[in-house]
């Protein structure tokens, strides 16, 4: 019943999403109410929305302003005051305490590996699955790989810690592999849905020209998948960059930890140098926020398509 609704809902949503996340809402609203001639703004609703937006922005404002305070100002308990004077020494100290260049590099490598690995493995597997659906191996593989979506990480965490330790993967490489594994289900779901919508004619003409499956994939299909790859890549990026649970459990050496995990040091040592800890938090958040600002469109469409693709 619900599936039915979701599927019937799809075309409208997709076309709305295609117009760009922003004006989609405006258009559908306009068509809804245009005839009545009420183009006025609903100000009470806007005021409520502004207040809600404040609750989103306030913690971010606190993080930024705290990070620019002097240590003396940061301990006064007033998180909402503006920094006076502005002082960047917190960043310098955080940089050294977290060994930022090394930690950052490890985080970048883990995230990059996760993004590339997820996109490649999921795209290749999805293509093979969709084009060979009537073969049991491929059909069952699909459901097998998708089953992980219902598997919470804590369930397999202990044996994964044990096994990665045994085979010498209790390090960032092991975390990268596990991040890819846990992204596969969602990514394959998105890719297979997208692949099913690509018309067969495109591929047939390539085949007639003598292209092999390998060439067809790399020269025709993979470029066509680009928008979906962008979505898959962003979600892999966010999941990997922000993860605390897996690296903290899998990586054995403290000096190989990722950025979210090293933030822990401010809970034990240096716990009153709030300007330092907030500077470090800001350096941990900033890359994800910056990437988000540039890729908003795919982030929003990813969630939307993930929910309604059928």
């Amino acid at each position: 019943m619900t599936q039915e609704k979701i599927r019937t809902a799809t075309p409208a949503t997709r076309s709305a999403a295609d117009k760009g996340s922003g004006d989609a809402g405006t258009r559908s609203t306009r068509s809804r109410r245009g005839k009545v001639g009420q183009e006025t703004t609903n100000w009470p609703v806007m005021i409520i929305l502004f207040l809600c937006a404040l609750t989103v922005l306030l913690p971010l404002y606190v993080t930024i302003s705290m990070s620019m305070k002097t240590t003396a100002q940061a301990v006064d308990g007033n998180a909402f005051s503006l920094p006076a004077p502005v002082d960047f020494s917190g960043f310098v100290e955080a940089w050294e305490l977290t060994n930022f260049p090394v930690t950052f590099t490890i985080s970048v490598l883990v995230t990059l590996g996760t993004v590339v690995g997820t996109v490649l493995l999921a795209a290749l597997a999805s293509y093979a699955i969709v084009r060979n659906w009537e073969h049991r191996l491929f059909r069952w593989s699909f459901f097998y790989l998708l089953a992980a979506m219902f598997l919470p990480f804590p369930v397999v965490a202990l044996p994964q810690i044990q096994l990665t330790g045994l085979v010498g993967l209790a390090n960032p490489v092991g975390v990268t592999i596990l991040h890819i594994m846990f992204q596969l289900s969602f990514s394959i779901l998105l890719f297979t849905a997208f692949l099913r919508s690509i018309p067969l004619e495109l591929e047939e003409s390539a085949r007639i020209d003598g292209a092999t499956t390998w060439q067809t994939f790399w020269q025709l299909i993979f470029p066509l998948l680009a928008p979906m790859s962008a979505t898959v890549a962003i979600f892999a990026f966010l999941a990997s960059w922000n993860d605390f649970m897996m690296p903290s459990l899998i990586i054995a050496q403290a000096d190989q930890q990722t950025i979210p995990v090293v933030q822990n040091i401010f809970q034990t040592q240096f716990s009153t140098n709030y300007n330092v800890s907030f500077a470090s938090y800001l350096m941990a958040m900033a890359p994800a926020i910056i990437v988000y600002l540039f890729t908003q469109r795919w982030v929003m469409e990813g969630v939307t398509q993930g929910a309604v693709k059928g």
Binding site: V56, P152, P159, L189, G310
Partner: protein, 321 residues
């Protein structure tokens, strides 16, 4: 897996339909004329690396873990099969029972809070307002921030800023940190988890609301429906499917809560906010490997059963409306 919301958002809506679509997929038959078409060997090359890695890193650990749950393995050294001893012990372990109680209570409250707020925000963001794009962009930001880092920020707000504010204004209940009190610490965890999880649910609800055809509302207007009636009798039934997705995925993610709790309370005060995930992980440091694997296996079974139950219950509802 710290981005609870989204990666999984595809799940509920798609499993069934993906299968149906696949059945009608005719592309694969392109190469041969009759019978089962031969599979181009390259396809195995495309699929097998994923299949092998997945089996090695997910399926194998899962099976190994389940096997050890029937032993007395402590994480290293010798072990013996002990049957269901661990499972029986788990059921009578107050520490584990209290972590289940906390986690389920927390997940239930959070799922309600997240879905009510996300739904109302989605209605507001698709109504006649200005600045839609920037507002929507702001509301999505929490989704991209690391759970543990934002938990540290909120921890400071809860335990330093709010008490300072309480002292300055003389409001007594603000003066004590809510995280320091066993009976209120969970509220802080709900707030931060909701703060982080609302964007994912919000985007799904916006998609749902945009899919409702305008004519439906015109018909409601002609019938003279008030705004409330329109929301309750038109909008809500039409987005029922999206509610199902959000509730099931949200609940599953909140049941494995870890990052935010570690950042805010680390399970305290005492063990009042210790989640199931946190008790399972003690099996690694505490020499309780086999015992906690029994716990993990039970947790998995319960999580699956709850998803199925929710699917049934909510489907029934959607069918009625």
């Amino acid at each position: 897996m710290t981005i609870p919301i989204t990666p999984a958002s595809a799940a509920a809506g798609d499993l069934v339909s993906a299968a149906e679509h696949g059945q009608t997929d005719h592309l694969a038959g392109a190469h041969t004329k009759r019978g089962k078409p031969k599979v181009d060997g390259v396809y195995y090359l495309f699929l097998l690396p994923t299949l092998i890695l997945f089996t090695l890193f997910i399926t194998l650990p899962a099976l190994v873990g389940i096997f050890y749950s029937f032993t007395n393995f402590i994480g290293f050294g010798d072990w013996q099969l002990v049957g269901f001893t661990n499972y029986i012990a788990v059921f009578s372990d107050p520490a584990i029972l209290s972590s289940y109680l906390f986690t389920f209570g927390f997940a239930l409250v959070t799922v309600i809070v997240v879905n009510v707020i996300a739904f109302l925000l989605a209605v507001a963001l698709t109504s006649r307002i200005r600045l839609k794009t920037p507002l929507r962009a702001i509301f999505v930001i929490p989704m991209v921030i690391s759970g543990i880092v934002i938990a540290f920020v909120f921890k400071y707000l809860f335990s330093n800023s709010l008490p300072a504010l309480g002292a300055a204004t003389g409001i007594p209940w603000l003066q004590e940190s809510i995280l320091a009190n066993e009976s209120t610490a969970w509220i802080g965890i709900v707030i931060v988890t909701a703060w982080q999880s609302i964007p994912g649910a919000l985007l799904i609800y916006i998609a749902g609301l945009l899919s409702i055809p305008g004519e439906v509302y015109e018909a409601a207007d002609i019938d003279g429906a008030s705004a409330w009636v329109r929301l309750r009798s038109v909008t809500l039934p039409l987005v029922a499917g999206y509610v199902v997705i959000n509730v099931i995925l949200g609940f599953k993610n909140f049941l494995s809560a870890y990052d935010v709790i570690v950042g805010l309370t680390n399970g305290g005060p005492g063990t009042s906010t210790r989640s199931i995930a946190m008790t399972i992980f003690t099996g690694f440091t505490g020499g309780d490997y086999a015992y906690q694997m029994a716990n993990a296996t039970l947790f998995f079974i319960i999580a699956i059963l709850i998803s199925l139950l929710q699917l049934r219950l909510t489907r029934g509802k959607a069918a009625i409306s």
